[in-house]
Every structure is written in C-alpha cells, then in structure tokens.
C-alpha cells in the first residue's frame, strides 16, 4: 500500500483499527512514520472533539412535548399542500426514484431525438477526396484560362502598328 491509498482509509483505521479490511493500512502505518504521525494527529483531534458535551434534556421536555402534541391532536388536519411539502422536505426521496428515472428516460429520448434530427438537417454533405481534387483542378484550369486571356490581350495591344505597304 502507498501513502496516498493509506490516507484515504485513515478515517476507517481511526474508527475501527481491528477491522480485517484495514489490515493492509495498519501494516503500512506501522512501517511509515509520516502516515503514523497523521493517524496519531487524527486520533488526538477525534479525542479532542469528545470534550464538546451536550447538556442533559430538561425535566420539562416531555411535558412541553405532551402539550404540543395535544394541541396538534385538537388542531384541524394539515392541508394537502402542507402534507406534500413535508413529504418532499423530510422523506428520503426513494419513492420518487422510479418516476425520476422514467422522466429522465423521456428527456433523453426527446433530447437525443432532437439533436439527431438537427444533426441530420444541418450537416453538410460529405465530399470525397477525388471530388475535391477535381474541383481544385477545375479552379486551376479556370485561372490558367484567365491568365492566358490576359496575356493575349496584353500581347495584342503591344504589337507595333504595321504600316501599309504602298
């Protein structure tokens, strides 16, 4: 085991050093002074956190809860919106997983279909290398013809004026 792997399991080692899954990490810590020092510091920090104790519940907690519970029992039942809000806020969300998966599948289908459709319409037709070469030759040929034309025009204007023989 290398130090980086060992550091990722240090919390496990901290909490359950005797666990069989931590044997390799424990062996590494025993042989590596740096990791051992880090584990010792973590253990010390962990122990330090124990100093933060919470006070005992007050003697009136149960009475106050009983009063609030009686009020709750006599109050009118919560509306559907409040019940829905509570369910959304405080449940684990597991019952929504199938619906969420189905919604995700629908979104992927629609989204994927739209993108594929757009791709088909917008992409330019692919041209082969041979056609590209022919197009280049064609353009070159046109350029040569234009140059020939220019040379001819220039040549005809430079010709000396031949006097008619009398």
């Amino acid at each position: 085991m290398i130090c980086r792997d060992c550091k990722s399991v240090l919390p496990d080692l901290l909490l359950d050093p005797a666990s069989p899954s931590n044997t390799a990490a424990q062996a590494h810590v025993d042989s590596c002074s740096e990791c051992r020092a880090e584990l010792n510091e973590l253990q010390a920090t962990f122990a330090l956190l124990d100093e933060w104790t919470a006070p005992e519940p007050s003697a009136y907690f149960d009475q106050k809860l009983a009063v609030r519970l009686r009020e709750e029992q006599t109050a009118s039942p919560a509306g559907w919106f409040e019940r829905l809000r509570s369910r959304l806020l405080f449940n684990t969300g597991r019952q929504f997983r199938p619906a969420f998966a189905a919604a995700l599948a629908v979104v992927l289908l629609i989204g994927g279909g739209t993108i594929a459709d757009l791709h088909m319409h917008t992409s330019a037709p692919a041209t082969s290398a041979a056609i590209t070469d022919l197009q280049v030759f064609d353009k070159n040929d046109q350029a040569l013809q234009t140059m020939d034309q220019l040379v001819q025009d220039e040549g005809s204007s430079d010709d000396p004026v031949v006097e008619p023989i009398s």
């Binding site: 919390p11 519940p57 007050s58 907690f61 449940n91 597991r94 019952q95």
Partner: protein
C-alpha cells in the same frame, strides 16, 4: 335489582384488539413501532420519543448552540413524526428518517437566525443561554486559569465545527456524536457511501489542521 350476566362465550367472540406494551416494543423494529402508531397506538410514539429524545436533543444542541431552542426543535421533530404517521413508509431506517427531519429543521433554523448570531454580543453580567453560566473573566487562581484554557479549547472546537461547510458539519455531528454509520449519514444527506466517507475525511482533515494547537 336486575343483574347483568355476560356469557363467557360472548367475551371469547369479541374481536381481539391488542396493543403492544413498552416491553414488546423493545423486541420490535422502529418501523414496526411506527406501524403501531399508525394504527393508533400512542404507546409506540411514547416509546420512540423515549428512545430518541436524548440523541435528537444533543444533535440539535450542537447545531443551534442553545438548549432551549434545541429542545423546541427536538419537539418539532417528534411532532413531525406524529404528523407523518399516516404516510410513513418503511423504505429507510426510522433513525435515518428522524435525522433527516432533524437536519432539515436545524439547517433551516441556522439559516433563519444567521444574522442574529453574527450580531451577538457577550454581556458579562448576564447568564449565557447556551451554558447557563456567566462568562469567565480574569481570575488569579490556578483553577480559573485551567478553566479558561478548557473554555478556550471548547470554544475553538465549537467554532471550527460550526465553520465547516454545511454538509461536512452535519456529517461530523452525526458520525462523531451520534454514532451513525456512513450509509445512514449518506441516506440523510442523499449521498453515496463513498461520497460520505470522502466528505467526512475532508472534515476531519480540516479539523485536524485548525485544532492543531489544542492537540
């Protein structure tokens, strides 16, 4: 004077309505006790309050740093359990669900009172609502010095735990002080087990760095 005699056969034909007692609840799963509560057995609710009262109050106390408020919020947690008895589904461990309610209430309370807490002032002649004691002032005795050092250390612990990012803070409170495992914490915070482990590791590393001088 007329007398009414009930035939023993009538009593045997009566439908058996049996509610579990506190003794039975010890053998039962919390989810099954919730089903008892759903069926109208309030003894189930009393048992759950008795079982989780202390851990939930302590959890709330470490979130809000005030005993009176933590107890009020803990009562609210149990009231929400009572309100949800009809819709409760045993899809996760009861304790996970309970801590989820507590976490949401604590986080909402912390957000609502953020401004008040940042503007708090210490009055030397007033009793601290959090600890029930007056603030320590300089004293010449050795005991007072030790006490001040201890208070300083405790203050640092609270301050640095409180300063952790919200999820890390909740994870540490549940892991360190409530003894929840990675899976339960992950369920409460809606994280995978490995993500929870990594979250906790980052939190403990941060605390190790910040509390170095007190170790």
């Amino acid at each position: 004077m007329a007398t009414l005699a009930i035939s023993p056969q009538i009593t045997t034909r009566l439908p058996e309505i049996r509610h579990s007692s506190a003794g039975d609840f010890r053998q039962m799963d919390d989810a099954a006790i919730m089903l008892e509560l759903k069926a109208g057995n309030m003894a189930g609710f009393d048992y759950l309050v008795e079982k989780y009262r202390k851990p939930i109050i302590h959890f709330m106390y470490r979130m809000v740093h005030n005993q009176a408020v933590s107890e009020e919020l803990a009562q609210e947690v149990f009231l929400r359990v009572y309100r949800s008895r009809e819709t409760y589904r045993a899809e996760a461990r009861f304790s996970t669900w309970l801590y989820r309610i507590a976490t949401n209430l604590g986080v909402n309370h912390a957000r609502d009172t953020r401004r008040e807490r940042s503007a708090s002032t210490i009055h030397l002649d007033e009793v601290d609502p959090e600890t029930g004691t007056t603030p320590d002032v300089a004293d010449t005795t050795i005991g007072a010095e030790t006490s001040m050092l201890r208070d300083e250390r405790l203050h640092a612990i609270k301050q640095h735990v409180l300063a952790l990012p919200e999820r890390q803070r909740m994870a540490v409170l549940m892991h360190k002080y409530e003894g929840l495992d990675y899976k339960q914490i992950g369920d409460v915070l809606k994280l995978s087990e490995s993500a929870t482990k990594s979250l906790l590791f980052r939190a403990y590393q941060t605390l190790r760095e910040r509390l170095k001088e007190f170790v």
